[in-house]
C-alpha cells in the first residue's frame, strides 16, 4: 500500500498532534535530567525527530539553531556508518564539519528501527559548559585555527546495539573541565531518546508501519503547503541586508556578511555571495551554522502555528554560499565562537530581509520585527575562592532587548528570540556559587533603539569579586562593541553598542560597608576605567569591579511618529534621558516631565526640514511629491508602502502620499540619506572610539519621514541595496 494512502484525515490530525507532543516531551525530559545550567536555565539545547534519511520532521522549541543542525549530524552519521547502523545504537559528535555548531555542542542521535527497518531518527544536542581547549568554557579567544581549539569528536558510536561504550564516554569527558556535568548531560540525552523511541514504536504498534511512514510524508506536505501558501501572499522581489562582526577573536577588525534574498512565487533563494572570507579567529561557522542560521529564523517566522518541520521548509528554500567564507568555513577554521558570531549574523541577515518582505507586503506584517539582541555580550570569571577551590562561571545574564514590532515596543531585556526559553539565574544563586557580589542588575538607560515603537532595553550590571584574595581571570566573548549589533526597521534606529568595562581599585564592598550604595559609575571612586576588547582576556583584581551593559533592540518606524506621552513615560522609567527625548524623538518636556505639545510639533517639523536640508539627495528624483493633509490624522503602520500608479507599482511614502518611483528599482535610490554619528544616538556609544561607523536614515524626500535605516562602516558601499520588487505581471 502507498503509505500516504494509509492515513485518513482523522488519523493524520491525531498523529500530527501526538508526534508534536512526543518531541516536546523529549525536550522536557532531557532538560529535567541535565546537569548544566546552560541547559536547564538558559535552554541552550534542542531535540528533533527526523526522517529515516535524516531530515528534520519536528524540531523542539528550545534554542532553534541547535535543532536545525541535527539534520547534518544524522546525515553525517549515515554517510560514515551506512549499513553498520543497527537497532540499539547511538552516535555522538562535536565536530562542526559533521553538524555540531561548535565543539561545545555535543549531539547524540539515535536510529529508530522497526523489524530491521530504519523508520526514523531522534536527536538531542546540548551546549556543554566546557569541552577543553585553551580557555575556560572552550570559547577559544585568541585561537587562529582549529588546531589551537579543543579536540573535536567526529561521529562516533556511543552505544553499540544497546551496550554503552565506556571508552567513548571516557574519551569525551577526558578533555573537559566539567566532566561530571557533561556526563549527566550524556545520560540525559540518551534517557530522553530511549523514552522517545518507545513512544514512536507504540504508534507503529497501534497504527502500523504504513501509517507511521505515511504520517511523516503528510506532515512534510502539510507544513510545506503552509509555507508555500504564506510565501505566495508576499511580494516577489529581492530583499538585501548586511551584517557586521567587529572582532575575530584575535584582531579588532570588521567582517562583513551579505545577503540577497529573492522571493519568487512560493520559493526563497538566500544568496550570501559577497560575504568576507573565513577569519583567522574562532568566529567562523561551517555549513551547519549557515543552514541553522537560516532555519532558526524561517522556522519561527513562517511556521509559528505549525510543526517546525525543517524538511518541509528546506524544500521551499535554496541557499547559495561560497565555501571558505565566514559562514561556510572550511577546515581548519577556528569555530568555537561560531554560534554567537557568524551563525547569529546569518540569522540577523535573514530576520532583516524577512522583515522587509513582510512589511512591504502587508500580509504577515505583524511578523515583521526590528533586529533585537542576538549575539553575545558575556564574560567568564575563573579563579580560586577563599577556600581554595577553583571555579569557572559563564555569566548568562548579560542580555539585551528585543526588537520593536509593527504593533508595539520590543521586550525589555528579552534576550535572543531564537532562544525563547532563555532564563537568567537569580543573583542569589550566582552569589551562592561564585565569590562575587552584584552591586546592581537592572535595565540599562539609553540602550533602546528609537522608533515609533522603541526597541527593548538591554541589561546592565556591576559585578565585583567578593571575599577573595587572588585575582580572577575575566574572559570576554562579546560582539557589537564597535557597532550596534541591533538594527531598526522601517525608519527605526538601532540600539546602542554593548561593552564591558573594568573599574580598577574601586573596592565596592568597602563602600557598601559605609552604608553608601552607588547607583552610577560616577559614584564609584576608582583608579582607572579600562575598556577591554570585544573578545579579550584580562585580570580582575580583588578590588576591581566589572561593568557590563548590553544593547537594546532596534526601533520600528520613524521616532518622530512615537506618541509623545510614551516618550515622556520612557523618560520617567529611565529608558531614555531627557536629551534623547528632544534629539531622537523631537519631544519637548517641561520641568515636571510633561509633554509640551506645541513645542513638540514645532520641533518635529524642524527635524524633518533639517533632514531634507542636510541629507544627501536621492539618486533618482521622486515621481510625484505631495503634501501631507493634516486631516489624515492616522499614523500608518508602516510608512514605506507600494501604491499602484496606473499600470505600474511604485514605492510611496504613506505619511505624505508622495510617489517615490517604480518598484523595479531599489528603494534607496529614491530617498535622501541622513547620516547620524553613532555618538548622537546614545551617550553609551561614546564608549567606542571607532568613528568609522555611522547610522544612515533613508528618508522621504518630500516630508523627511525616515522610511528605512542601516548601519554602515566608512568604506562600505554607500548605497547597499535593500528592496527591489518584481513588477506585477498579467495586467
Amino acid at each position: 500500500m502507498n503509505p500516504k494512502q494509509a492515513v485518513d484525515a482523522t488519523t493524520f490530525e491525531i498523529l500530527r498532534h501526538r508526534l508534536w507532543e512526543i518531541n516536546d516531551e523529549m525536550g522536557l525530559l532531557a532538560r529535567r535530567l541535565s546537569g548544566s545550567p546552560a541547559v536547564y536555565e538558559t535552554g541552550d539545547f534542542n531535540t528533533a525527530i527526523l526522517t529515516p534519511d535524516g531530515h528534520g520532521l519536528f524540531i523542539g522549541v528550545h534554542i532553534i539553531r541547535q535543532g536545525s543542525v541535527l539534520d547534518v549530524v544524522v546525515q553525517s552519521v549515515l554517510q560514515v556508518f551506512g549499513d553498520e547502523i543497527a537497532d540499539g545504537d547511538a552516535f555522538l559528535t562535536t565536530d562542526p564539519w559533521a553538524g555540531a555548531l561548535h565543539a561545545q555542542d555535543a549531539a547524540v542521535v539515535k536510529p529508530i528501527f522497526w523489524q530491521d527497518q530504519l523508520v526514523a531518527w531522534t536527536g538531542v544536542v546540548m551546549h556543554e559548559l566546557d569541552v577543553g581547549g585553551p580557555r575556560p568554557g572552550s570559547w577559544s579567544v585568541g585561537a587562529q585555527d582549529a588546531y589551537q581549539e579543543c579536540p573535536l569528536l567526529p561521529p562516533i558510536k556511543l552505544v553499540d546495539r544497546g551496550s554503552y561504550r565506556k571508552d567513548v564516554e571516557a574519551a569525551f569527558l577526558r578533555n573537559s573541565r566539567t566532566p561530571q556535568i557533561n556526563a549527566l548531560n550524556l545520560r540525559a540525552k540518551l534517557v530522553a531518546q530511549v523514552a522517545t523511541g518507545e513512544r514512536l514504536r507504540e504508534i507503529i504498534e497501534q497504527y502500523g508501519l504504513d501509517v507511521f511512514m505515511g504520517v511523516q510524508t503528510r506532515i512534510v506536505e502539510y507544513v510545506r503547503e503552509t509555507v508555500r501558501q504564506r510565501l505566495r501572499g508576499l511580494r516577489d522581489g529581492t530583499y538585501s541586508a548586511t551584517a557586521l562582526v567587529d572582532h575575530d577573536g584575535t584582531l579588532d577588525k570588521f567582517y562583513h556578511l551579505q545577503l540577497a534574498m529573492t522571493k519568487s512565487d512560493d520559493h526563497l533563494v538566500f544568496d550570501f555571495s559577497g560575504t568576507d572570507r573565513q577569519a583567522p579567529g574562532p568566529i567562523n561557522c561551517t555549513y551547519a551554522g549557515l543552514l541553522s542560521g537560516v532555519m532558526q529564523v524561517l522556522l519561527p517566522s513562517l511556521c509559528y502555528d505549525v510543526p517546525w518541520c525543517q524538511k518541509a521548509v528546506g524544500e521551499c528554500v535554496d541557499i547559495i554560499s561560497e565555501p571558505g567564507t565566514l559562514n561556510n568555513a572550511l577546515w581548519p577554521a577556528a569555530t568555537t565562537m561560531s554560534t554567537t558570531n557568524a551563525c547569529q549574523s546569518t540569522g540577523d541577515l535573514v530576520w532583516q530581509t524577512l522583515t522587509r518582505m513582510y512589511g512591504i507586503s502587508e500580509s504577515l506584517r505583524s511578523e515583521a520585527i526590528a533586529l533585537g539582541f542576538g549575539g553575545v555580550n558575556a564574560g567568564f570569571l575563573a579563579g580560586t575562592d577563599a577556600a581554595g577551590t577553583r571555579f569557572v562561571n559563564l555569566f548568562t545574564d548579560s542580555v539585551g532587548g528585543g526588537g520593536a514590532r509593527s504593533f508595539g515596543d520590543g521586550i525589555d531585556v528579552s534576550a535572543n528570540l531564537v532562544v525563547p526559553s532563555h532564563a537568567i539565574p537569580n543573583v542569589e544563586r550566582i552569589e551562592s556559587l561564585v565569590p562575587v557580589l552584584y552591586l546592581y542588575r537592572r535595565q540599562c538607560a539609553s540602550t533602546s533603539g528609537a522608533g515609533r515603537y522603541r526597541g527593548g532595553a538591554g541589561l546592565e550590571m556591576i559585578v565585583v569579586p567578593y571575599g577573595v584574595k587572588e585575582p580572577m581571570e575575566a574572559v570576554f566573548i562579546s560582539s557589537g562593541c564597535a557597532h550596534p549589533s541591533t538594527k531598526g526597521a522601517f525608519g527605526g534606529l538601532p540600539g546602542s553598542i554593548q561593552r564591558n568595562l573594568i573599574l580598577r581599585q574601586a573596592d565596592v564592598p568597602k563602600l557598601l560597608g559605609t552604608g553608601f550604595i552607588p547607583t552610577t559609575i560616577d559614584e564609584i571612586p576608582c583608579s582607572a576605567v579600562d575598556v577591554p576588547h570585544a573578545k579579550d582576556s584580562v585580570q580582575l583584581d580583588p578590588a576591581d569591579a566589572w561593568l557590563n551593559f548590553s544593547t537594546g533592540g532596534g526601533g520600528f518606524g520613524d521616532p518622530l511618529l512615537r506618541e509623545p506621552a510614551m516618550v515622556a513615560a520612557d523618560v520617567v522609567s529611565g529608558i531614555y534621558e531627557v536629551e534623547a527625548a528632544a534629539t531622537l524623538y523631537g519631544v519637548s518636556l517641561d520641568d515636571d516631565g510633561n509633554v509640551d505639545l506645541d513645542e513638540t510639533r514645532r520641533r518635529r517639523a524642524g527635524i524633518r526640514r533639517h533632514r531634507i536640508d542636510i541629507g544627501r539627495p536621492p539618486k533618482v528624483q521622486p515621481r510625484e511629491a505631495r503634501e501631507r493633509d493634516d486631516q489624515d490624522v492616522g499614523i500608518p503602520e508602516i510608512c514605506l508602502v507600494v501604491r499602484s500608479e496606473g499600470d505600474e507599482d511604485c514605492f510611496a511614502c504613506a505619511w505624505c502620499s508622495s510617489i517615490l518611483g517604480p518598484v523595479i528599482l531599489d528603494v534607496r535610490n529614491y530617498m535622501i540619506t541622513v547620516e547620524h554619528k553613532l555618538s548622537s544616538l546614545s551617550p553609551l556609544n561614546r564608549l567606542t572610539t571607532d568613528d568609522r561607523v555611522s547610522v544612515l536614515a533613508y528618508c522621504c524626500p518630500s516630508c523627511g519621514t525616515a522610511l528605512t535605516s542601516d548601519v554602515r562602516v566608512l568604506d562600505d558601499d554607500s548605497w547597499p541595496p535593500e528592496i527591489e520588487l518584481r513588477a506585477r505581471t498579467g495586467r
Partner: protein, 713 residues
C-alpha cells in the same frame, strides 16, 4: 477553637466555587451524602455559597441553620484570590527591594515572557510579551539601602528611615499594600523584620508582608513574586473569608471555616489572612486529593486524575499515593514558590470547537464555545460545531435529556453543523462527528502522556481516575488511548472536587533553603537536626494557636535533593528525632534509588555528588473522612428489576456502522451491578458511556469501573 469541634457525630460540608457552578457536598453520618449545585456569583461568591447550602439543606429536608449548627467541619475552596489576580483587581502594591535590584520583578529572569505558556504559544516568538499590565507598576518600586551576602552577613547596613520615607511617599499616592523583598532575607530576615515592624507601626492601615515570611527560599525573583502576589490579593481574600465566616456563624455555624490550600491541606481563615497566596489555584486540589482517597487501593496509589469540564481538561498525578506537587507554579506569567498540587490543563472539553484550518485539515479546539453561546445543539446562537454536538450526533447523548441546564438538545441543528463541516472533507455528519470525537479523545490522551512521560513515568502503570461533568463520557476512551484497561469514574463525579476537599487533613508546613553536599557527615546531621527541630517547633506553634494540642499533630520531615548542579529536585523522607551519621548518610542512597526508579536504571550519575537544597516539615492533624463505602449512597429503586430502560443506536469512533446500545438508568444500579457494553448509563447529572468491548461495574464506594475486555485493550 478546634476546627473539628463535634467529633464524629457532626455533619461535614464541602463547598467548592468553580467558574460556572458552586458545588456542595454534605456528609451526614445519619442520612448519608448529598450533592447540590448552584450558579457561581462572581461579584460576591458568598451569595452562591449560601444559595448552594440552602439547596443542599432542602434536599435533606432541613434548614440552612439546622445543617450549619450541626456541622463538625466546613471546608471551602475559594477562587477569590485566583480571580483577583487574573482579572487584575487586587490592591495597588508598593514594593521595597534591595537597592540596585529594584527591577528584579520587571526583568522577570528574562523567562517571564514565556513563563506558563504552552510550547505552541512559545513558538510564536515575534508576539511574546511580559505580563500586561504588570502586577506592580514600576513607579511603585522603591530601593532599600541595605545589603546582605550569601552567608547571611550584613554588607551594607539598613537605612530604615529612608525606607519609611519611601513608604510614606507610596502611601501618599494611594498604595494600599507593601511587599518587602530583600536579598538573602531567607538566610537573615532581620532587615525585613525591622522594616515590617516599622511599617506596621507608622502605617497601620497598610497590608504588609515580607518575603522571609511568605517564601523563605533562595531565589529573589520567585520570592519577590510570591510576596507581591500575596500583598496583591491579601486584603480581598481576607475580607471575603472573614465576611463569609461571619455570615455562617450568624446562621448558626459553630465550627471554624476551613479553607482549601493549593498544596492540598486545609487551614484556618486566620492563617489564610497572612498567606492568602495559599488559596491561589487551589480549585483542582480537592479532586486530586479525593482521587487519592477513593483510589488508594488501585495500582499502589499510582493514579492519573483527569477533570473533564466544558472548556478545560485538567490532569493531576498521585505517585505511590503521594500527590505530585508543582515545584515551580506560574500564574499569569508570574513564577512563584509556594508548593501547589500539580495540574496541567489544556482547553479541551465538550465546548471545544471543530474547524478546518488554512489547508482544510480537520482540527478540534483549543477555541471553545464555552457556556455561552455553547454548542450548536443548545440553540443559544452557537453556530460552530463542538465536541458535545458530535457526541449528540453519535448517540452518546440523549437529545431529550437535560444537559447543562438545558431542556432538550437540538440534534438536527448539530447534524447540520457537522454535515457542513464534513462536506469539505467528503464526510457525512456521523463520520465527521466520529472524527471530531476521536481527535478530542486523542488530544486528551496526549496531555496525559505528556504529564507522565516528561517525568519518566509510564501511564500504563497508573490507575486512571476521571471526574467532572463530562468525565464519565470520556473516561473509557482516554483510558484505552493511554493503554490502560481500566477507567474509574469517581463517586459524585460532578461535584467531586467538593467531595475531595472532605478527604483532606489540616496541614501546616514550614520550609527553608538549606544547602549541604554529599558526603553527608555527622556535622551535617547535627545541623539538619537543629534546622528540623526549629521548623517542627514553628509548625507545632501554629497548631497551638488554633487550639490543637501538640500531641494531636503528626509531623514528617522531608528534604529536596538533587545531583550537584542539577536543577531537578526529588523529595525524600528524613528520619525523626536526633539525626545520626547513618540517617544522613542513607539519604544519598534513598535519593539515587528514587531517581533511578523515576528516570530509569542507569540514569543516575553518582560521581556528580548529591546536594540537599531544601528542608521541609509537614504537620498534619487527621480530620474525619467521609466513609468510603456507604450503602446509603445508592438510592436504589427496589421495585425496578432491570437497570435497562431502553436502547438506541450509537456510532463509536473507529467503527464504520452504528450498534444498538442499551440505555440504563442509575435508579437500580447497586454495588456489584455489571453492565455490558455497548451501553449508556444515564444519570441525573451526567452520562456514562460504556463502549463496545467493555463493561461497567458499580463499586460499593459509589465509584464506577469501566473495564475493557482483554482482547480489545
Amino acid at each position: 477553637m478546634l476546627p473539628v469541634s463535634r467529633g464524629r457525630d457532626g455533619i461535614r460540608i464541602g463547598i467548592d466555587v468553580g467558574g460556572t457552578f458552586t458545588d456542595c457536598v454534605v456528609v451526614d453520618p445519619i442520612r448519608g451524602r448529598y450533592h447540590a449545585k448552584a450558579f457561581t456569583t462572581p461579584e460576591d461568591p458568598a451569595l452562591g455559597v449560601l444559595d448552594v447550602l440552602q439547596r443542599a439543606a432542602e434536599m435533606m429536608g432541613r434548614s440552612t441553620g439546622e445543617i450549619l449548627s450541626t456541622a463538625a467541619s466546613f471546608i471551602h475552596g475559594t477562587t477569590v484570590g485566583t480571580n483577583t489576580l487574573i482579572e487584575r483587581r487586587g490592591a495597588r502594591v508598593g514594593l521595597l527591594m534591595t537597592k540596585g535590584h529594584e527591577e528584579t520583578l520587571a526583568i522577570g529572569r528574562v523567562y517571564q515572557k514565556v513563563a506558563g505558556l504552552s510550547e505552541r504559544e512559545k513558538t510564536h516568538v515575534t508576539h511574546l510579551s511580559r505580563p500586561t499590565p504588570p502586577i506592580v507598576h514600576p513607579r511603585d518600586v522603591r530601593p532599600v539601602s541595605e545589603r546582605i551576602d550569601s552567608r547571611g552577613c550584613v554588607v551594607a547596613p539598613l537605612d530604615p528611615d529612608a525606607a519609611l520615607t519611601s513608604v510614606a511617599d507610596l502611601a501618599g499616592t494611594g498604595v494600599e499594600a507593601i511587599a518587602i523583598c530583600l536579598l538573602f532575607s531567607f538566610l537573615n530576615p532581620h532587615h525585613e523584620q525591622v522594616l515590617r515592624e516599622a511599617v506596621r507601626r507608622e502605617f497601620p492601615d497598610l497590608y504588609v508582608c515580607i518575603s522571609s515570611d511568605v517564601a523563605p527560599v533562595l531565589g529573589e525573583y520567585e520570592r519577590c513574586v510570591s510576596t507581591v502576589l500575596n500583598a496583591y490579593i491579601g486584603r480581598r481574600v481576607g475580607e471575603y473569608l472573614t465576611r463569609l465566616e461571619r455570615n455562617l456563624h450568624a446562621l448558626g455555624m459553630t465550627c471554624s471555616l476551613l479553607v482549601m490550600q493549593a498544596h492540598g491541606g486545609v487551614t484556618t481563615v486566620a492563617d489564610i489572612r497572612e498567606k492568602p497566596l495559599l488559596t491561589v489555584d487551589s480549585g483542582p486540589a480537592g479532586g486530586v486529593l479525593g482521587a487519592g482517597y477513593y483510589g488508594a487501593d488501585a495500582e499502589n496509589g499510582n493514579i492519573i486524575c483527569v477533570d473533564v469540564g466544558g472548556t478545560s481538561f485538567d490532569v493531576g498525578l498521585l505517585i505511590d499515593g503521594r500527590v505530585e506537587i508543582d515545584a515551580a507554579p506560574v500564574i499569569a506569567q508570574y513564577s512563584y514558590v509556594l508548593p501547589k498540587v500539580y495540574i496541567k490543563s489544556i482547553g479541551a472539553g465538550g465546548g471545544s470547537i471543530a474547524w478546518l484550518d488554512h489547508l482544510g485539515a480537520l482540527r478540534v479546539g483549543p477555541r471553545s464555545a464555552g457556556v455561552d453561546p455553547g454548542p450548536v445543539s443548545y440553540g443559544r446562537g452557537g453556530t460552530a460545531p463542538t465536541v458535545t454536538d458530535a457526541h449528540l450526533v453519535l448517540g452518546f447523548l440523549d437529545p431529550s435529556f437535560p444537559l447543562g441546564g438545558h431542556v432538550g438538545l437540538d440534534k438536527d441543528a448539530a447534524e447540520r453543523a457537522l454535515a457542513a463541516l464534513g462536506e469539505q472533507l467528503g464526510m457525512t455528519a456521523p463520520e465527521t462527528a466520529s472524527a471530531v470525537v476521536a481527535i478530542c479523545n486523542a488530544q486528551m490522551a496526549d496531555l496525559v502522556r505528556k504529564v507522565t512521560i516528561e517525568r519518566g513515568l509510564d501511564p500504563r502503570r497508573f490507575a486512571f481516575f476521571a471526574y467532572g461533568g463530562a468525565g464519565p463520557m470520556f473516561a473509557a476512551f482516554i483510558a484505552r488511548e493511554i493503554g490502560s484497561r481500566v477507567a474509574y469514574v469517581a463517586p459524585g463525579s460532578g461535584v467531586f472536587s467538593a467531595l475531595g476537599m472532605l478527604t483532606t487533613d489540616l496541614v501546616y508546613y514550614e520550609e527553608h533553603s538549606h544547602l549541604a553536599r554529599s558526603p553527608f557527615d555527622p556535622e551535617t546531621a547535627t545541623r539538619l537536626t537543629s534546622v528540623y527541630r526549629d521548623l517542627e517547633e514553628r509548625v507545632l506553634r501554629r497548631f497551638e494557636r488554633e487550639g490543637i494540642p501538640r500531641t494531636a499533630a503528626s509531623l514528617s520531615r522531608l528534604a529536596d535533593l538533587r545531583f550537584v548542579r542539577q536543577v531537578n529536585e526529588l523529595e525524600v523522607p528524613v528520619s525523626a528525632g536526633d539525626l545520626g551519621a547513618d540517617d544522613v548518610a542513607g539519604l544519598e542512597a534513598v535519593f539515587v534509588g528514587r531517581y533511578e526508579r523515576t528516570y530509569g536504571a542507569g540514569s543516575a550519575y553518582t560521581a556528580a555528588g548529591v546536594e540537599l537544597v531544601k528542608v521541609r516539615v509537614v504537620g498534619r492533624v487527621d480530620m474525619e473522612k467521609p466513609p468510603r463505602a456507604d450503602p446509603r449512597l445508592w438510592h436504589v429503586n427496589e421495585a425496578a428489576q432491570d437497570t435497562r430502560v431502553g436502547e438506541r443506536e450509537i456510532l463509536f469512533p473507529g467503527s464504520a456502522v452504528p450498534v444498538v446500545a442499551a440505555i440504563h438508568s442509575s435508579e437500580s444500579i447497586r454495588p456489584g451491578t455489571v453492565v455490558q457494553g455497548p451501553a449508556v448509563l444515564q444519570r441525573l447529572a451526567d452520562t456514562v458511556v460504556i463502549p463496545q468491548g467493555s463493561s461497567l461495574e458499580a463499586r460499593d464506594d459509589g465509584s464506577l469501573v469501566v473495564r475493557w475486555d482483554a482482547e480489545v485493550a
